[in-house]
């Protein structure tokens, strides 16, 4: 895992260092009177005069101590932007979306598999295909148009959902007694409705498909027939024999999906103007604020590697046939 991470960080760092345009370009534009010497000084101060591998090892040394450098755009440490400011927001949005998606998709998938080829199954399969093929940016814009513009204009009592999904309320305001706890939660929840809905609808579709396929495969196996032949009730066969095995691949997939939760949804966050991790990555690339981009991407690579490992371990927990010696 360590060599894999090392290689990943080398690749990401190199790609970011090779990005077109100097970070100093902007400075040059803002201040046309800046002299070549001053630029050279700044270049040396930022360490941009050194070769890439020297910069990489310097970055690695500092990053291992938790120092990811300064953000040029916000003039604060990159680690603070990513881990303190953006990460919690992204966890709320993507975590809520994944939870909602699983809570709906697993029962629906089970239902659909048990009633295979019924009318309900066809409808569920159709909708999962639709959700699966729906681009998130289209669904997002559609939801915005419907619930922030079209319906509120026509239905007076309908709540007008905001175009900007980030709440202005801060937790510190609750502590100082400016607003109540419920106002705080309510405002956040209200503003998160649309992005969570968009994100979870898309995810729901694939989880339903996975759950249905996984359960169908198990239901066709011999031991399920044996269990039925023994005269066990359908309930016991389904929940005790089939479902447990059908959930094994789902657990792995959930494990593999969790790094995505941290990574945030770049597109969803862009559409709903929600400043989370995904937006941080996108904005830092556009603004050439590479310390922030590097911190975020390195963190995501670490998470992906860790959760790959955890998914393997979880596999062993839920499936006693697998033993790691």
């Amino acid at each position: 895992m360590i060599p894999l991470l090392f290689a990943a960080s080398v690749v990401i760092f190199t790609l970011l260092a090779l990005q077109p345009g100097d970070p100093l370009d902007e400075l040059r534009q803002q201040n046309p009177r800046i002299t070549a010497e001053q630029l050279e000084q700044l270049r040396r101060a930022y360490g941009l005069d050194q070769p890439i591998y020297v910069r990489y090892f310097k970055w690695l040394g500092r990053a291992l101590q938790g120092d990811f450098g300064q953000s040029r755009t916000y003039a604060t440490p990159a680690a603070q932007i990513i881990f303190v400011e953006r990460l919690p927001r992204t966890l709320i949005l993507s975590g809520a979306a994944l939870t909602l998606a699983l809570l709906v998709a697993i029962p629906v998938g089970i239902f659909s598999a048990v009633r295979q080829y019924s009318r309900a199954d066809y409808i569920i399969t159709f909708f999962s295909f639709v959700g699966f093929s729906m681009p998130i940016f289209f669904l997002g814009i559609l939801l915005l148009f419907l619930f922030a513009v079209w319906i509120p204009e026509r239905v007076p009592w309908f709540p007008k959902f905001p175009v900007q999904s980030i709440s202005d309320f801060q937790w510190s305001q609750v502590l100082s007694g400016e607003i109540t706890f419920f106002q705080f939660i309510g405002d956040w929840a209200f503003k998160l409705v649309l992005p969570v809905l968009a994100l979870s609808t898309i995810q729901m579709a694939s989880w339903t498909r996975y759950m249905r396929a996984s359960l169908l495969e198990v239901l066709n196996q011999d031991y399920v027939r044996t269990a039925r032949a023994k005269g066990l009730s359908e309930r016991v066969v389904l929940y005790k024999h089939a479902l447990r095995n059908a959930l094994i691949p789902i657990v792995t997939l959930v494990g593999l999906a969790i790094p995505g939760v941290f990574g945030g949804a770049v597109i969803t966050e862009t559409i709903f103007s929600y400043p989370g991790m995904g937006r941080a990555i996108l904005d830092s690339l556009t603004d050439k604020d590479y310390n922030v981009a590097m911190a975020a991407l390195a963190f995501l690579a670490l998470l992906t590697a860790v959760f790959n490992l955890l998914a393997d371990l979880m596999y062993a927990v839920v499936d006693p046939r697998i033993r790691y010696s």
Binding site: L16, Q19, S133, I141, F145, V149, L297
Partner: protein, 405 residues
């Protein structure tokens, strides 16, 4: 002999005929096939179908009147923020989307198949890339170019060793001089010790080179590389790569600009989609080949003296065709979606070239004033991807009836 050939041919035809019969039963897939054919025709004949040029802007007085027109008889889907006809842009956008989808999916399938077959077929059989002149030749893989490569690699290794020794000697020249001129210091001593160490290593490699063997497990290399690609967060990396390769000052950017002109970014987007897209196919094919190569027909082919390449591409690959076709069909939808997402974020195909993705970028800004701008391109992306997904589903039922997902 001829009779055998005919029967095998008619048999393979009947397999496809059987698949077609199964495919026809899948109504949604048949409908999707119609949609895909219509889209392809629309893309091919875009210049004849489109009522206006996709980039034509109105000229004359009162330009503002031409902007943001709602749907009307002149402009079925209205006009955008520069007065361009949305329907024409949609029709031309189909060209880009389908081009990206087909080319990226086919290229990714070819790359993934090649690497997957190599990884699966040579799994557990390391490639001997070096073999010393005195090394014992064991049984196993000995194609004729290997004898040639054996001599060449041997010469190469010893040339490199000679150059390394020569360089070490040259670098230590001053220290050896100091030894004889009486100005010998601790620094000189350390340098000479370093020289001795380097020569010791060179000598050891030289001795190993006589008897030793260098092996390279292609499966380990390819599989590790696939694992590695899965560690890196995909969408951010696509953004980074896109910004890097589209750069007009960069090597790739300039080359693409020179070769492809205005559509350089189309080529670059296809490239980076392929860069990530082959991994799924690669894993699929590798897994299939791992089990196929243990089957009797492979042994039979080996016994008949078929070469490695022949076994891989004539015997193994055709047997993986069913999942490969299904996978590639679904990949077309995936590639179209990726292109649209990248273009939507401004990291894909750049305006003025009209693509469904970059039409949506602008449309989001005008969602309050001109919602129809967002509906048309978004719906087209959705419809196309849905059609390819259903097509893939139908193909899976038709070609690969055992597997179901």
């Amino acid at each position: 002999m001829a009779a055998v050939a005919t029967t095998s041919k008619s048999k393979s035809q009947s397999t496809w005929a059987l698949a077609w019969r199964r495919f026809r039963r899948h109504k949604a897939a048949m409908f999707s096939l119609g949609v895909v054919i219509a889209l392809v025709l629309m893309a091919i004949f875009a210049p004849w179908i489109a009522p206006y040029s996709p980039t034509a802007q109105p000229t004359g007085d009162n330009l503002a009147d031409y902007y943001f027109q709602g749907p009307s008889w002149e402009h079925w889907l209205g006009t955008d923020e520069l007065g361009r006809d949305v329907l024409s842009r949609i029709i031309y956008g189909a060209r880009i989307s389908l081009l990206v989808g087909f080319v990226a999916a086919i290229a990714a399938a070819l790359l993934g198949t090649t690497l997957g077959v190599i990884a699966g077929y040579f799994s557990g059989r390391p490639l001997r890339f070096y073999m010393g002149p005195l090394a014992k030749v064991a049984g196993g893989w000995k194609p004729w170019p290997f004898a040639l490569w054996r001599v060449a690699s041997w010469l190469l290794l010893y040339t490199l060793l000679f150059l390394a020794a020569d360089l070490a000697w040259t670098l230590s020249g001053a220290n050896v001089q100091a030894l004889f001129s009486g100005t010998f210091t601790l620094n000189n001593l350390l340098s000479l010790l370093g020289l001795a160490l380097v020569w010791g290593v060179i000598l050891l490699i030289g001795i190993w080179g006589l008897f030793g063997q260098g092996r390279l497990d292609l499966d380990v290399v390819i599989s590790r590389f696939m694992d590695f690609m899965l560690t890196i967060p995909e969408l951010p990396l696509l953004l980074v790569l896109s910004a890097l390769l589209r750069d007009n000052q960069g090597v790739v950017g300039q080359w693409a600009q020179a070769v492809f002109g205005e559509s350089a970014s189309v080529f670059i987007i296809i490239t980076i989609i392929v860069l990530f897209g082959w991994i799924g196919t690669g894993r699929l094919i590798r897994g299939a080949v791992l089990s196929l190569r243990e089957q009797d027909f492979t042994t039979a082919a080996q016994a008949l003296g078929a070469g490695e390449a022949r076994i891989m591409f004539r015997h193994l690959v055709p047997n993986t065709l069913a999942p490969l076709i299904v996978n590639a069909t679904l990949a077309i939808g995936g590639a179209i979606l990726t292109e649209a997402a990248l273009s939507f974020l401004g990291f894909g195909i750049q305006p003025p070239v009209a693509t469904w993705g970059n039409m949506l970028t602008k449309a989001q800004e005008y969602i309050f004033t001109a919602p129809w701008l967002a509906l048309a391109p978004g719906f087209m992306i959705f419809l196309t991807v849905l059609a390819f997904n259903y097509l893939g589903d139908g193909l899976r039922d038709a070609l690969d009836p055992r597997s179901r997902l």
